[in-house]
């Protein structure tokens, strides 16, 4: 599978990473190389194989649906780039 510049722009948008116009061709080449290399997986017959969903054989644990943590707003906000009155601050979203 070969990736072109438009595809790079599209996945960069999906991944929310700004990729400058003049970087897209080079990145398309790098990503195409990697995807070309993983193409070999096509050789393997997986028709009747279940996809792995859990690495170890275990039952997912359950617990009572009660609050076990919290009440630490200032800790949560401590590393935020911008806060105001106990909230995160982001650029204006709604005009």
């Amino acid at each position: 599978m070969s990736i072109d510049k438009a595809t790079v722009a599209n996945i960069a948008r999906l991944a929310r990473i700004h990729v400058a116009e003049d970087r897209r061709a080079a990145l398309a080449g790098e990503l195409s190389n990697i995807l070309g290399w993983v193409e070999q997986l096509g050789e393997v017959d997986t028709d009747d194989v279940a996809p792995m969903t859990s690495v170890v054989e275990m039952r997912l644990p359950e617990r009572d649906d009660v609050i076990t943590d919290g009440g630490c707003r200032d800790d949560v906000l401590a590393n935020a780039p911008e806060t105001e009155a106990g909230f995160y601050v982001v650029p204006k979203v709604v005009e």
Partner: protein, 492 residues
């Protein structure tokens, strides 16, 4: 005196502390001095000497009161992927350059509860993505080893390269690492130390910055197998805060070390004899087989037919999980924010400025293989092949108790090599990735030197949650190998 202190093993230092011959403060001061002397290796991102001295004094006071943990007073380094309360934790990324966690990872909390002392936070590949520790926002970590007749800086391997370098340089008794596809074992092999990845689920991942959650495991980097047993015993154990952490008893790993390998069935997988494997790697592997046979182990030829598909499978699964895990770095909740007056533009610029080239590449690959129209062809296909790889091991472990392979396909390379060729870099993990995909415990131990005088590792893979047998086999191999070489900068 101080050379003698930094030359100790964890077990040796523990015994001398116990005998009252030395204090944790003396031991810690010697290691702080060694860590400062090792600064040219760029192995530490954040040194925490004040923290270390306070912990050492507290440890000596506890000991005086008769309270002695399993790692009481022993100074170690922590990979900068483990959140440490109040101590900057960066994942070697610009995007977390000023991140100071308000909480402690479960594994480091267990280490401090056992009395260990923190010297600092070690350098690594950004977000643990790499096999060289070159891709760090503070620049590459460097191995204390040099190739004969060549004074170029060598990589300590990666991603836990800073941890490996600082332990190999005798500036920390041991260090924590994390292993997603080989990130503990390959650096251990490159630097002549022991590195162990336990079974997936054995150690809690809580508070460890996530890369690929179905693969990430914490583990120790130490100078000998006994130390790995001591440290794993402290790091392991159930944690309700990690739903994939397994609620199973943690055996006394140290006690089982000397059981011997008589009658142990050691599998030799035909598929690991890869094309163009260097002769010295093949020779090392054959020596390892002979050592095990000489100690009474039964050597069994086995087949792991899907081995060659492990690496490409990994490079779908790991980036897919990474692209999802790293979505949280959005310039809002923590970390870097690049200024922009539109929200989406702010996200995109923050992530462009904050992530390095390899991390961006993997996020983009991950976003692509998970995107509409490609999910079945890539991600689902890879998860199916992962099932086949795990089935291969399951079938093999009907016939054998452990599997023996080389750790890495070469000795350490120079800083800067392979930096522009992602696939050549990925091939470093050809022998370590299959066990990661299957969630199995595995250990690398130093077993010889290459023609260039650099360490080479042998790799043992065990059954799920049977770290005790794995460590026992590794101990036997370690005794046979008798590896005693030291990097040039270290005086014996």
């Amino acid at each position: 005196m101080s050379d003698a202190l930094t030359g100790l093993t964890l077990g040796g230092a523990r015994d001398r502390l116990e005998a009252g011959e030395i204090s944790s403060l003396e031991l810690t001061e010697a290691h702080i001095a060694a860590m400062e002397a090792a600064r040219p290796l760029n192995a530490i991102i954040t040194e925490t000497p004040d923290h270390a001295l306070a912990m050492a004094k507290a440890s000596d006071a506890r000991r005086a009161r008769g309270r002695v943990g399993a790692m009481e007073g022993l100074p170690i380094a922590i990979k900068d992927l483990y959140c440490t309360a109040g101590v900057r934790t960066t994942a070697a990324s610009n995007i977390l350059g000023n991140f100071i966690p308000s909480y402690e990872s479960t594994v480091t909390a267990k280490l401090w509860d056992a009395g260990a002392v923190m010297l600092g936070k070690t350098n690594m590949d950004e977000f643990a993505m790499g096999s060289s520790s070159m891709f760090s926002f503070v620049g590459p970590a460097i191995s204390p080893w040099r190739r004969h007749g060549d004074d170029r800086d060598l990589v300590p391997g990666g991603s836990s390269g800073g941890s490996a370098a600082i332990v190999a340089a005798r500036a920390a008794l041991a260090a924590t690492g994390t292993d997603t596809g080989g990130s503990i074992r390959q650096p251990a092999a490159f630097t002549g130390i022991v590195g162990m990845k336990p079974t997936y689920g054995r150690c809690s991942r809580w508070g460890i910055i996530a890369f690929a959650s179905s693969l990430d495991q914490a583990g120790p980097l130490t100078r000998c197998v006994t130390d790995a047993a001591i440290m794993l015993g402290v790091m392991a154990g159930h944690d309700p805060k990690d739903s994939t952490s397994v609620d199973a008893p943690v055996p006394d790993y140290e006690a089982a070390l000397h059981d011997g390998v008589k009658g142990l069935r050691v599998g030799i997988p035909a598929e690991y004899r890869v094309d163009n494997m260097p002769g010295e790697i093949d020779a090392l592997w054959r020596r390892g087989i002979a050592w095990m046979a000489a100690r009474g182990a039964e050597i069994v030829d086995i087949s792991l037919p899907h081995t060659k598909y492990a690496l490409p499978t990994y490079y779908i699964v790991a980036p897919a999980e990474a692209s999802s895990n790293l979505a949280r770095y959005d310039g809002v909740k923590y970390g870097l924010r690049s200024r922009h007056d539109k929200l989406i533009d702010m996200y995109e610029q923050t992530r462009a400025d904050g992530f390095g080239a390899e991390v961006q590449r993997r996020i983009l690959i991950g976003a692509y293989v998970l995107s509409a129209g490609y999910y079945d062809a890539y991600y689902l296909k890879a998860q199916k092949i992962r099932t086949l790889i795990a089935d291969d091991f399951r079938a093999a472990f009907d016939k054998v108790d452990v599997v023996l392979t080389p750790t890495a396909p070469s000795d350490a390379f120079a800083v800067g090599d392979k930096a522009d060729d992602p696939i050549a870099m990925y091939l470093n993990d050809v022998f370590t990735v299959p066990a990661s995909l299957a969630g199995l415990p595995a250990i690398s131990l130093p077993a010889g030197l290459s023609g260039g005088g650099l360490p080479l590792g042998l790799h043992l893979i065990g059954k799920p949650f049977d770290e005790a047998t794995l460590l026992c086999a590794a101990y036997a191999l370690e005794q046979a190998a008798g590896f005693e070489a030291l990097p040039g900068s270290v005086t014996p």
